[in-house]
Amino acid sequence: MLRLHFGCSILSAFFAERVGTNASAPERRGLKNLVRFLQACADGLLTGALYAVIGMGLALIFGVMRIVNFAHGAFLMVGMYATYVLFDYFKINPYIGFIPAGIALFIFGYLVYMALIRPIRDRSHFMQILMTMGIGLILTDAAQLIFKADYRQTNIDLINRSVHLGPFGANAAEVLSFAIALAFVIGLRAFVVRSRTGQALRAISQNAEIAPLMGINLVRIQGISFALGTALAGIAGGLLLPRLYLFPGVGEDYTTKAFVMVVLGGMGSIEGAAFGGLVLGLSESLTSLYLGNQWALIIDFVLFLLVLSFKPAGIFGRQRA
């Protein structure tokens, strides 16, 4: 705490001295531009961390099962609604409410897997994609029927507070969700590397045909990874809730973004997807600053296509696409 304060004051002093009346005009402008650049980077990383959680969820599903899961955004939306209901009826802060929402999504994802995905796991990729599309449609329209199409918002105190570090500022709620998202990235990595289930997951991701010969219960592990993937989507939804708003179609854009992240990072790589999320957040923020926000999404896709063209295995990928 003290060190942070100390660091704060050093930074402030540094910048104050530079931007003070002693500095010449171009120097001041240059510094202002630098501050702006760094601030945009910081904002991009804060948003990118949330994207990372969404991307990791999809990386689990995609990496382990090679399913193009078009319902991923819909699960995010379900998680958001779950967190919203907890907030609206039980007054539970979304930054706590995301936990029960995540657990609910885990169970829900497992059930969906067992009932709808497992029976068709031997069928062609086409059919699996179709199935997830159908599920996505059902979830979205059901949400509209239950909650109506109205936009909803949560207003918690934290969203109106800022923290400052020298000339840089950040929204307190965003910092909190960054911290939580980071915790998940680290936690998930540890889970995948250290735990038996995690190792089973990686084994299946590398070679789904040989893995059962090693004694891995394919169906159960796949079910868990699907459930975990949807739980992560739901958690990301809960974390997004205070800074965005809620309506039945909110997940649609995030499905495509999640795929971009997974490909950027490299299939089968969860850290890669997380990295992809940060890259996306950063690129969107910087594009918005220098070119204008309307180009931000296009740049996402252009980046995506560039990576696909020159390094199809993704930045961290080990396998051929």
């Binding site: 995609f62 090679r66 193009v68 709808l116 029976p119 068709i120 069928r123 062609s124 990729h125 086409f126 059919m127 994609i129 179709l130 199935m131 599309m133 159908g134 599920i135 996505g136 449609l137 059902i138 979205t140 329209d141 059901a142 509209q144 029927l145 495509t256 795929f259 971009v260 490909v263 299939m267 309307q294 180009w295 999404l297 296009i298 896709f301 252009v302 995506f304 296509l305 696909l308 063209s309 199809p312 051929r320 696409a321």
Partner: protein, 327 residues
Amino acid sequence: MSLFKSWKFWVGLIVVLLWTRMPWFIHNNYQLQVLFRITLFAALGLSWNLVGGYAGQLSLGHVAFFGVGAYGLAIFTELGVPVWIAAFLAAIVSTAVAALIGAISFRLRGPYFALATIAFAEVLRLAATNLNVTGGAIGLTMPGLFIGRTFWRSFYLAAVALAVISFLTNYWASRSRFGYYLMAIREDEDTAAAVGINTARCKLYALLISAFLTALAGALYGSAFQFIVPDSILTIDISIQIAIITMLGGAGTLLGPIVGAVLLLTASEAFKNVFQESHLLIYGILIVVVVLFMPEGIVGGLQHRFRKRIKPPKDVKPQPVLDGAAQ
């Protein structure tokens, strides 16, 4: 030609003739519009079938060609080109776009290919939303390929013509060497390449043909409804709709896309009228049910059933595979 001896040909001809006469059987424009939509999507499904069905490449970005066709028609007409030439020019531009998309995307397999196609289509949609030449989000008024009191009937007949052309393309593909190469690529691309098939070129040709036909469909559609915005003519929903129709109907079959279009679009419109807000929910349930119970699509599933009932000819005795094999 043995073609004329085939009963299937005559049945097909009669069906096409009946299909063409439909406007005279129905009485109002609404039903004609629904039929137009069904026929056009049958054409779209058949075009997609070349890439997604025969070649087995799951393209989820076909709306890119659809949209280029529509916007191309509007922009070229704006530049003074006569309206029908503009439509074909737009289709040619769309083919060029397909060449670019193919060059990058066909290096990828399976789901990656699908994602790349999605990305391309989204880039086009976002570009159309932001650029002035495409009218931005405000949209563009489309020139009329057909005008006059019975223009819906003319559009409908044009859609039938496009569907027939797409069908014939499929038919030719299913019988020709090119078509066999595509199917070989679908079954096992590496082996096909090892056998000497130029997989990249085959896939590209399939995509080019598909893109041309899809673009014409886009020009027709945009012109019929007279006004386009990026969110209606370049939306991923259309790509998904085309893929769903073909996959549920039976990808890689001749009749699959047609059956899929007829059933799914009729269902979709009927659901909208009967269920109002919950129509998407019912539609989603329909998709889930068909995927669960009809894995090869409707036509595929039916073919499977019929094939099982085919008995071997009577005069063939079972022979032992190897001399001296026991039993």
